[in-house]
């Protein structure tokens, strides 16, 4: 009887294993091997999986990552801001679209619907009650193959729901003291971490430390959806930023969407992969 029982358990395990698939097992192994940073769980960052169909709660900012440098921000009053629109949007209505630089996957504004304001370049201005400003920086000089010339890039800063948001665009260098001063206080920072058509990953870490935001959201990196863009994945940045428990990745696919409240931001800098 005992023999039969143990065989049954063995069969169960076998079934479970085959259901899981050897491929996925291998990928898990690979993942553990590749990711040297520790995945921390913390109290911060408001709600983990917001109901994206529901209206945004009071004093809350919903941030959705669409890939490359594109984010859709929704405030509790329904105001929608799209940062660096790309073609994957497929006609997304918005109140404001911001453009950090004149490159095709940062300014595909055709895909923004609903008579939006286009905010780009430096002049500070208030749009629908939200103060926007841009800090003039430079794009990386890179002339081989893709022929990207050095040009202007604008770090877009604005304040919404009591939080200071900063989107670095396709920044190509470390920020100077003057530029750091111009950017000012940052609560949520969106930083390019691909390291090829933007600044090197080690410099991104330095910029993050200079600006000292509460939350860093990496962007402009290679992932499954955007496998053909130049640059590395997010792992290198995460490894460099790891101080134990300050990194949240939400698994292989990321969180996609998160909600933030100004009084629920973490006390120390956290990296959040959307």
């Amino acid at each position: 009887m005992g023999d039969k029982n143990s065989r049954r358990i063995f069969m169960k395990q076998l079934l479970a294993l085959s259901a899981f698939g050897t491929g996925s097992l291998l990928s898990i192994k690979k993942g553990i091997k590749k990711k040297s940073y520790s995945l921390g769980v913390s109290d911060a960052c408001a709600m983990d999986n917001p109901d994206i169909a529901a209206p945004v709660p009071a004093n809350t900012l919903r941030i959705k990552y669409k890939g490359i440098s594109c984010f859709i921000l929704t405030a509790s009053n329904g105001m929608k801001i799209i940062l660096d629109p790309i073609s994957i949007l497929a006609k997304e209505p918005a109140d404001v679209a911001t453009v950090s630089c004149g490159h095709y996957n940062h300014c595909d504004v055709y895909w923004v619907d609903g008579l939006p304001y286009i905010y780009k370049r430096v002049d500070p201005c208030k749009i629908k009650g939200v103060p926007f400003r841009g800090v003039l920086t430079s794009h990386l000089e890179l002339d081989e193959g893709r022929k990207i010339r050095p040009g202007d890039n604008y770090v877009i800063c604005f304040e919404i729901e009591g939080m200071y948001i900063c989107h670095l665009g396709a920044l190509g260098h470390k920020l100077t003291d003057e530029q750091v001063k111009q950017v000012g206080k940052v609560d949520i920072l969106m930083a390019p971490v691909g390291g090829v058509s933007t600044l090197p990953v080690a410099d991104v870490v330095e910029v993050c430390n200079l600006l000292n935001p509460k939350v860093v959201i990496p962007m402009h990196y290679k992932n499954r959806q955007f496998s053909d863009i130049p640059g590395a994945g997010v792992d290198e940045f995460l490894t460099l930023m790891d101080h134990g428990g300050n990194i949240r990745t939400g698994g292989r696919t990321g969180f996609g969407t998160r909600e933030f409240k100004s009084d629920e931001l973490p006390s120390q800098m956290q990296v959040l992969v959307l």
């Binding site: 073609s87 006609k91 679209a97 453009v99 630089c101 004149g102 490159h103 095709y104 300014c107 595909d108 504004v109 055709y110 895909w111 923004v112 619907d113 609903g114 008579l115 939006p116 304001y117 286009i118 905010y119 780009k120 370049r121 002049d123 201005c125 749009i127 794009h139 893709r146 022929k147 990207i148 010339r149 040009g151 202007d152």
Partner: protein, 241 residues
């Protein structure tokens, strides 16, 4: 309302109440070249409109039609989609096929201001269907692509489209050279020789018969964005001399 042409499909329309509408801003390649969505532009650098605009319209997402970066200020954007109204000006759009590349989208952009109905064809590449014609309705001023050389809008097709829409004013745009199909029209006004770069249209002074009005670009560009030297096959290079 006043019209200025910046080459390609880029027009600046100033309405009577002072609203500045910029259509299909061109990418000047100063900042970025490639991975060329439109390889024909090569290394060309040419000036585009760099002033302020109140509203920018975009017919389709190609580099020579959607480059909003050079526009100053904080413009509003009408990139096709449903009907919108801004400052008393009505905007609407009708989807069509893109010339030479029918897998791609294009939109007619309709602007109604000062009692004049303007339609901008973008990179249209089809004879219109009854349904499209119904949605377009009356056309006073038609800014139409005129690309026989690139076969984006062959003359036969253009002829059919013009008959279908029957506009009062036709403004050719997006063309490589001035051809006889244009100049041999019954009513043809040529602004190339005089120094007029800004042309004014008024509702009660529109001609009763279809008139082709050829603009001179206001920024000193050649007739259009194609470089005749690099553009092989153009038998009418002499026109540039």
């Amino acid at each position: 309302m006043k019209f200025k042409w910046y080459g390609a499909s880029e027009f600046l329309i100033t309405t009577d109440n002072g609203t500045k509408i910029l259509t299909d801003p061109f990418q000047n390649n100063e900042i970025f070249e490639g991975p060329a969505r439109m390889p024909v532009f090569g290394n060309q650098i040419r000036p585009t409109y760099t002033g302020e605009a109140d509203i920018v319209t975009i017919s389709h997402p190609h580099g020579d039609h959607d480059y909003i970066w050079n526009v100053q200020g904080v413009p509003r954007l009408y990139a096709a989609g449903g009907p919108q109204e801004y400052n008393g000006i009505k905007f609407t759009s009708v989807a069509t096929l893109h010339g030479n590349d029918t897998a791609y989208i294009n939109n007619f952009i309709g602007i109604e201001a000062d009692g004049i109905r303007i339609w901008h064809t973008g990179d249209n590449g089809q004879v219109l269907s009854d349904k499209q014609l119904e949605r377009i309705g009356r056309v006073d001023i038609l800014m139409t692509n005129w690309d026989d050389e690139t076969m984006e809008m062959p003359h036969e097709m253009l002829d059919k489209v013009l008959r279908q829409l029957n506009p009062k004013i036709v403004i050719p745009m997006h063309h490589c050279y001035v051809d006889e199909f244009m100049t041999n029209r019954k009513n043809f006004i040529d602004h190339r020789k005089d120094d007029v770069v800004e042309v004014e249209f008024k509702k009660d002074k529109l001609p009763s018969e279809m008139t082709v009005v050829l603009f001179k670009t206001c920024n000193g560009n050649p007739l259009d964005f194609f470089d005749p030297e690099s553009y092989k096959g153009s038998a009418l290079k002499a026109l540039y001399k």
